[in-house]
């Protein structure tokens, strides 16, 4: 199978950065829950933020383990046999326990990472959090230490005897593409779409 584990930092970081959102799993009394949420990376830390009242963030702050997946879909893999159909993807799963960021300084720096994760260049082009907003926001940091990347690329792998079958086989690439920016109906006159949104790409951010 053309699947491999990739554990080098550069690969892991690139997948985390390209994925806009992640899926966080946590367990309460053995009951698992999964939640999609926005993340960001700051060096070797994975940052999750949300309302101070968030059940997930309080759970992490209490020292409970989480598992966080970042998944990028690159295409569907169409083999001659249904058995060998697959998906081309890149994913990272991070396991670990986190800590709650306590100081305003650390929280601000984390929210800067979040803004830059959403769109590189955005932090300088938005109103930073007020003291009240900062107080209403929790941020947890999870070390990117126990991280496993998985990548599948390339064409389908069929059984030898199936290559003669008359079915089309190959890959249909899929990727998350930006459309045309939609201005807020209440946008002030003369405010143009910034360059970092006109040439927006998740890759290589």
């Amino acid at each position: 199978m053309p699947k491999r584990g990739h554990y080098d930092r550069t690969t892991v970081h690139a997948i985390i950065d390209e994925a806009l959102v992640c899926h966080v799993a946590f367990a309460v009394n053995g009951e698992p829950t999964v939640i999609p949420t926005l993340h960001a990376r700051r060096g070797e830390e994975l940052l999750l933020h949300g309302a101070r009242t968030s059940r997930l963030l309080r759970h992490v702050a209490e020292g409970n383990p989480v598992s966080v997946a970042m998944t990028l879909i690159d295409g569907i893999v169409l083999a001659r046999s249904i058995f060998h159909h697959s998906v081309n993807y890149r994913s990272v799963v991070v396991h670990g326990t986190g800590r709650l960021l306590e100081s305003d300084e650390e929280k601000l720096s984390a929210l800067e990472a979040v803004a830059e994760h959403i769109a590189r260049g955005r932090w300088a082009d938005t109103r930073p959090p007020s003291r009240k907003e900062l107080k209403a926001t929790s941020v947890v940091s999870i070390p990117i230490e126990l991280a496993a990347a998985k990548i599948r690329t390339g064409p389908p792998m069929d059984e030898d005897e199936d290559y003669a079958l008359p079915f089309w086989a190959g890959v249909l690439p899929l990727s998350l593409q930006p459309g045309k920016a939609i201005p807020d109906p209440r946008l002030g006159r003369g405010i143009e779409v910034p360059a970092y949104l006109r040439r927006y790409r998740r890759v290589g951010s």
Copy 2:
């Protein structure tokens, strides 16, 4: 906040069908794990398949609960304040316990749903599983009963006093788009890209 819970079946089914992959959370001895995997829907059942040796599938087959998220990203929401930045998305989370499909007939029908989930029209255009392949494959079915959909759409919501700020605000749409089909290097001559791949869309499948 322009977030709402949507619980009607049509909305839940449409999100499950449009999402190519899901994220499954399960817990072993209190340790949560999340795994991205391909899913399919058959009526009110969510189907997961994989190798018979799959840790996740055996866990489900033993009657343990899982939480499964299907998430569609529709865009980034850029507010004048960093605090009100968000993501437009549609997601469904299904909680439940599953059952292992036992008969070859039920497994075949489930794998047909998987093929059609990957690309509508594919099942009739591929070699069905052999007895041996069927034996190597496990399929579990989870009822789509405890399902919660969440949807965020529309422009950012800023604080009243922030609307006068000189920052661009609005939505940058994002969507999973197909590229040009890449034929398998070993594709037989004269086999054209089928119509269901030329006009491939996840929506309304």
